[in-house]
């Protein structure tokens, strides 16, 4: 990648991401959702939630997905990419990051859909890459089940397809040149010519280059092979640890493994489940009440405590990471406390990146807008668009 990177630690502060899944991350969240169990499928609810997240001062919202969710509280599920698209025109600064599978989807459609999300959000789109390991997901589309380690290759191939498609129209491909009658400069359009392990994609994209040029791509650490990450496949990694106290060490280890950000290494974002004291109840009582219905079995680090304690933990984490993604036990309840107490405290300490309305997600991550990889390709007016196979980030 040829981007100009922000040196770490970022002087501008870290990012806070909020996952908006169903009634919350706890499997029993639907039971204690103040809005009632069925409301998580209503458009009004989605509108209110993204507005609440934006006005609380979150930098980004993630939208989980998957054909067979683990979380029973999200067993009924609206498509993540469309939820993000719906959120776009009602928000101004919130980056919108849907989780989109790479194994059982069409890479050409995914690349087009994400580019379209970038258009409707005016450059606030990101992509949380998933690679479904679920046999039910394979059965839904009548495909052979793909298991690790092939999942890493499926994800890497799909990312490469999208990245090539996003570059396949150079920024100035639409010329609207009346004297020559040309709407497009065909020399600025390029075939993706992706030939992968299991499929090929010709291109070019059916949509011009997205506003950000390249959408930021995030992936859970460990999904991709280290050499794929080193080659610049992703812009951010999501790191997990079994307990909050282990997250900083996880970040340190990841930093040692990856290129530094100044050299194009990925942003490191840690995952944290949270349960807070709220509405006159202690966090541990609330968790016990939820767990009495369905135990919360989750491999992510979990914080249980007061808003002030969470602010202290996040303050520590934001000194070592580029961002933290929060998974609230019960979305509406936790979000209220986060907005009222936690984010204001962090902002006061100068630990959060400032929010600029209309900033792109790349700008939030400190990434410049890259030129198309094909921009320097030799183009000849008299022949077909030259093959660009082998061109890479």
């Amino acid at each position: 990648m040829t981007d100009t990177q922000t040196p770490f630690p970022p002087e501008r502060g870290g990012l806070l991401l909020l996952d908006l899944d169903g009634s919350g991350a706890h499997p029993a969240a639907w039971r204690l959702d103040p809005a009632g169990p069925a409301r998580s499928l209503l458009p009004q609810r989605l509108r209110e939630t993204v507005l609440a997240a934006e006005s609380a001062g979150f930098h980004a919202a993630t939208f989980s997905d998957g054909p067979t969710p683990r979380n029973p509280s999200a067993a009924a599920h609206l498509d993540a990419l469309q939820r993000a698209a719906f959120a776009a025109p009602v928000t101004r600064s919130l980056a919108l990051i849907p989780e989109v599978d790479t194994v059982y989807t069409e890479p050409f459609h995914v690349g087009t859909q994400l580019a379209s999300l970038d258009y409707v959000s005016l450059g606030r789109a990101g992509w949380l890459v998933a690679a479904s390991a679920d046999a039910a997901a394979a059965a839904a589309v009548g495909r052979e089940h793909v298991a690790a380690p092939a999942l890493a290759d499926e994800a890497a191939d799909a990312i490469e397809v999208s990245r090539r498609l996003w570059d396949s129209w150079e920024d100035d491909a639409v010329i609207r040149d009346v004297p020559s009658g040309r709407y497009l400069d065909v020399d600025k359009l390029h075939y993706a010519d992706f030939a992968g392990r299991n499929y090929s994609v010709k291109g070019p994209a059916i949509i011009p280059r997205p506003p950000q040029g390249q959408l930021p791509v995030l992936a859970p650490a460990g999904l991709l092979a280290p050499e794929q990450v080193a080659a610049g496949a992703v812009d951010g990694l999501l790191l997990s640890a079994p307990a909050p106290g282990l997250l900083a060490a996880e970040v340190t280890a990841a930093r040692a493994q990856n290129q530094p950000r100044v050299a194009g290494g990925p942003a490191l974002i840690v995952e944290l489940d949270i349960v807070l004291d709220a509405r006159g109840q202690s966090a541990s009582d609330r968790l016990a009440a939820l767990d009495a219905y369905t135990p919360w079995q989750e491999t992510r680090a979990r914080f249980t405590g007061t808003a002030a304690e969470l602010a202290d933990l996040l303050a520590e984490l934001l000194l070592v990471t580029d961002g933290v993604r929060l998974h609230p036990a019960v979305l509406d309840v936790e979000l209220e406390e986060l907005a009222r107490l936690v984010l204001p405290a962090l902002r006061l300490r100068g630990l959060l990146a400032p929010i600029h309305p209309d900033a792109t997600f790349r700008e939030q991550l400190g990434l410049s807008r890259p030129p198309s990889r094909y921009a320097d390709a030799v183009t000849r007016a008299t022949t077909a668009v030259p093959s660009t196979r082998g061109a890479n980030a």
């Binding site: 469309q82 009602v90 409707v120 009548g142």
Partner: protein, 467 residues
């Protein structure tokens, strides 16, 4: 909404018209050379068109689908507007800033998976409060397939059988949640009652689905189904499956004939004579006076088909460069180099017998004394789909369609983005309202409400589809 009555065998005109708008994105009909021509991809253009249409009480906002960028003589086609967003992504965004207009996504059955597509359409239907529609299209060529995992796999002859099995599976998915599957209160046993869900199993020739659907029915039960195929096979498919035909028969006599053909096929398929709505593709060129509209039409046509487009249009069929020919002279005297027009893709013309076509066109142009540019302009402007005149003249013409039920409405392709609906909404809509043939408010909140379509009853048996 009665769901159990016997299907009506006699067609009864509603006496009303509906309007839809088709934001095309890829075509020669959209003028990009005028000073007022705006972006084809900026969200603001889509917002402007959708909100103007909703102000004009339009029933539907319609988007096409791109699967491969059009090519001309082996390179991307340069002369027309091109580049458009994914339909459902754009419509989901528009759902947030509109409240009544229907949102129609063109999606093909060949390069989508039924479970995935049905789920995404369910999402759009729920996010829009029951305003989603699916324009079902089929594709079969390997050229398009080069962008997809399976490549070209479907024979042309199989495309409707495949599409129908696909649509049937989608309907089963939309029907798979019984009422009350979702918990009403936090003390219910589970959030989703698995016993109220029917898993979908389909084992067909072209695809296999083994799927537990993830969403309840929307307020309109199923997305509305649009269909545009005009072959006898396509018409029968529409008669069995579709709610609305996006037809190619806008001219009055032709429209009447098409209506009676569709009514006959619909009744033969066991559905009611009024169950399938017809909305032809159309273009409107309006002015305060007849003269103003005619002048505008000449201007629009000159911008739609410039000299380069005229030559390029013929090159599609000749399969060779014709840049040496004068656009203001007669049609080329040389023959096409290909029997099938395989060199040009994505414009829907391949498969025509090029040589035969060329000679027919040459004599037609010679007979009428048309230059290349005039001939191409006449061919591409779909003159029969254009309503030109003053607001009152056009309103009078449309009134006749409404009264006899020749059509249920028109799906308008604006020739200008994003202001192309302004005069229609500001002038034509009020003129139609004065004549009592156009709604003065939205009938309801769902697209089915607004099109006068009943919510579909649940499929009586979930029998496996037959392809």
């Amino acid at each position: 909404m009665s769901e159990q009555t016997e299907p009506a065998t006699t067609f009864v005109p509603s006496g009303r018209l509906q309007l839809g708008v088709f934001f095309q994105g890829v075509n020669s009909g959209t003028v990009w050379k005028a000073a007022e021509s705006g972006s084809q991809t900026d969200f603001e253009s889509f917002r402007r068109i959708a909100q103007t249409a909703e102000r004009g009480l339009f029933a539907a906002f319609f988007l096409g689908e791109g699967l491969r960028l059009r090519e001309h003589l082996g390179r991307p086609h340069a002369l027309d507007v091109a580049g458009r967003p994914d339909a459902q992504t754009m419509l989901a965004a528009l759902a947030a800033i509109t409240s009544r207009i229907g949102l129609v996504a063109t999606q093909n059955t060949t390069y989508n998976d039924p479970a995935d597509l049905a789920h995404r359409l369910s999402t759009l239907d729920l996010l829009s409060g029951g305003r989603a529609a699916w324009n079902v299209v089929t594709t079969d060529n390997a050229w398009t397939g080069a962008n997809f995992r399976r490549g070209g796999y479907l024979d042309h002859a199989d495309r409707y059988r495949h599409a129908e099995a696909f649509v049937q599976t989608a309907k089963e998915i939309w029907d798979s949640w019984d009422e009350g599957a979702l918990a009403a209160s936090g003390t219910d046993e589970t959030w989703v009652d698995r016993a109220a869900l029917r898993p979908i199993h389909h084992n067909g020739r072209h695809y296999t689905v083994d799927y537990l659907p993830r969403l309840p029915r929307s307020p309109q039960h199923h997305p509305v189904l649009f269909q545009a195929g005009d072959s006898p096979e396509g018409r029968n498919f529409a008669a069995r499956q579709a709610d609305v035909i996006f037809s190619a028969h806008p001219q009055y006599d032709d429209a009447l004939q098409f209506r009676s053909d569709i009514v006959a096929r619909t009744v033969a398929a066991g559905r009611g004579a009024n169950d399938v709505k017809i909305m032809p593709a159309s273009e409107f060129i309006l002015g305060a006076t007849s003269k103003e509209a005619q002048d505008k039409k000449a201007w629009v046509r000159s911008l739609q088909i410039g000299p380069q487009q005229a030559i390029a249009y013929l090159e599609q069929f000749w399969g060779r460069e014709l840049s040496a020919y004068d656009p203001d002279g007669p049609l080329p005297d040389i023959d096409p180099v290909v029997e099938e027009t395989s060199e040009t893709r994505g414009s829907g013309f391949h498969g025509a017998k090029a040589r035969e076509l060329a000679s027919t066109w040459r004599s037609e142009a010679a007979e009428k004394g048309l230059t290349i540019r005039q001939f191409v302009s006449a061919r591409t402007s779909r003159g029969d789909a254009t309503f030109t005149g003053s607001y009152t003249e056009v309103a009078d013409r449309l009134q006749q369609y409404a009264v006899t039920g020749a059509v249920d409405g028109f799906n308008i392709s604006p020739w200008l983005i994003p202001t192309g609906l302004d005069d229609i909404v500001n002038h034509l809509v009020p003129a139609l309202q004065e004549r009592g043939v156009y709604p003065t408010e939205y009938e309801g909140s769902t697209l089915r409400d607004n099109l006068g379509l009943a919510n579909p009853a649940r499929l009586p048996t979930l029998s496996p589809a037959s392809a």
